[in-house]
Symmetry: C2
């Protein structure tokens, strides 16, 4: 039989609140959906519910925008309080033009608005930040799911990022536990004997993208299980996917 991979959407997660026990929520949703985790499964979780459970929400009514944030926001019709939060989340601005801020986050990710997002959040004055340490969040989920479900599963925490030169956003991996995010074919020969020199595949990003296909942004299905992918078990980090500055031609 052909190698087949399954991407299973997990229903019934519902609304997540600060302080919620995400392991309990996910394992109950798995049970209610009659999904039994098996060895080899990978659990993919959008960061939004992780951030919410961890209380990474900001009430914009508590934010006093700086003059810089005000000036920029007035020019482009943006909410100055939200701009202020973006600037506070940023460690470096990569581009700031035409109302768009592309910034580096404390984790090293480069993305729009330093990961600050107002969608899928309750309350018109609330924005959601990225988890403080998405790898640690993934690790906690992996440990908790192992205890709750009796199976060791890697966990990938995702966000949807835009890309230079290409339209639309795609889901990518920002936090990882239990698997190697890059598969390195360098030094191997292809079937023609050619020594592959530039073939490091970002499989964690591909797994995140695959999971998004059953998540549907507006459908509140923030968890998926990938079944049948022969991942490389081991320590892994979302930071492994961040290009080192000295190799980066688009700083």
């Amino acid at each position: 039989m052909a190698e087949t991979l399954q991407i299973i959407g997990v229903d019934g997660i519902g609304d997540v609140q600060p302080g919620d026990d995400l392991v309990a929520i996910i394992s109950r949703a798995l049970r209610d959906s009659q999904i039994t985790l098996v060895t080899g499964d990978i659990v993919v979780v959008t960061h939004k519910i992780v951030s919410k459970a961890e209380g990474r929400l900001v009430d914009l009514r508590t934010i006093e925008p700086s003059p810089f944030a005000r000036q920029w926001s007035e020019r482009y019709g943006k909410d100055a309080r939200q701009t202020e939060v973006v600037l506070r989340e940023a460690t470096r601005i990569v581009r700031m033009d035409r109302g768009v801020i592309i910034a580096e986050t404390r984790h090293g990710f480069v993305c729009a608005n330093a990961g600050v997002d107002a969608s899928n959040v309750a309350g018109a004055d609330t924005v959601c930040l990225l988890p403080i340490d998405p790898d640690a969040s993934a690790h906690r989920l992996a440990v908790g799911l192992e205890q709750a479900c009796g199976v060791v599963v890697p966990v990938i925490i995702t966000d949807s990022f835009g890309r230079p030169w290409r339209d639309g956003v795609v889901n990518i991996a920002i936090g990882i536990a239990g698997m190697t995010p890059l598969v390195d074919y360098r030094g191997q020969h292809d079937p023609y004997g050619y020594l592959m020199s530039a073939s490091v595949l970002a499989v964690a990003d591909e797994l995140a993208a695959a999971a998004e296909l059953v998540m549907n942004k507006v459908d509140q299905r923030p968890v998926a299980v990938v079944r049948g992918y022969a991942y490389a078990a081991g320590p892994g980090s979302g930071k492994n996917l961040v290009m080192r500055p000295e190799r980066d031609m688009f700083r």
Copy 2:
């Protein structure tokens, strides 16, 4: 039951030569793998076999490098003939530094070496180019597969691209037939009533990434079937995924 998507690797494609009938090769491989295409399936094909079948191979022994290609290649220990082919395939150089050329292709894609690739090609002096018109290639495959298999299937032709700021390559869509590559949530409200303003998902890129997970670069499995994804049927183009220059902050 939970929404489940399947990614099925198609074995038995074998070596593809210029002039080969790719529809015949793929439909035979599907039959031999006991995969019957059904309505709703999407066929994902790596461009390498498309380029080979279309004869998009260059014998480097026939290439006379320009002085510019020679100078650059000597500096970085590259094959000047291959650099020359890259420059001929490029319409614009985006970055050219540290031995790396990031260029825009005639299709508008921005990628390393303008898509010129020496891996998975027979012959040490042969490089492979991107298809002339990947959408047309996808369309021909879709029409052919409909005739051969009796089912209308969208076709996505892929390549693996690097990304600024992130390590590793991921599979993306360069040619599309029969489906809309972007899903636009703008103007819809999320479950909290928030009007989504920046939520256009590049689902064709996510489908390409998902397919790569069963392809394995060195394993010669250049075709996959995605089953169970509710795509939007209609005309689509790989060019829909290329950001318009006026929106591009990383020209």
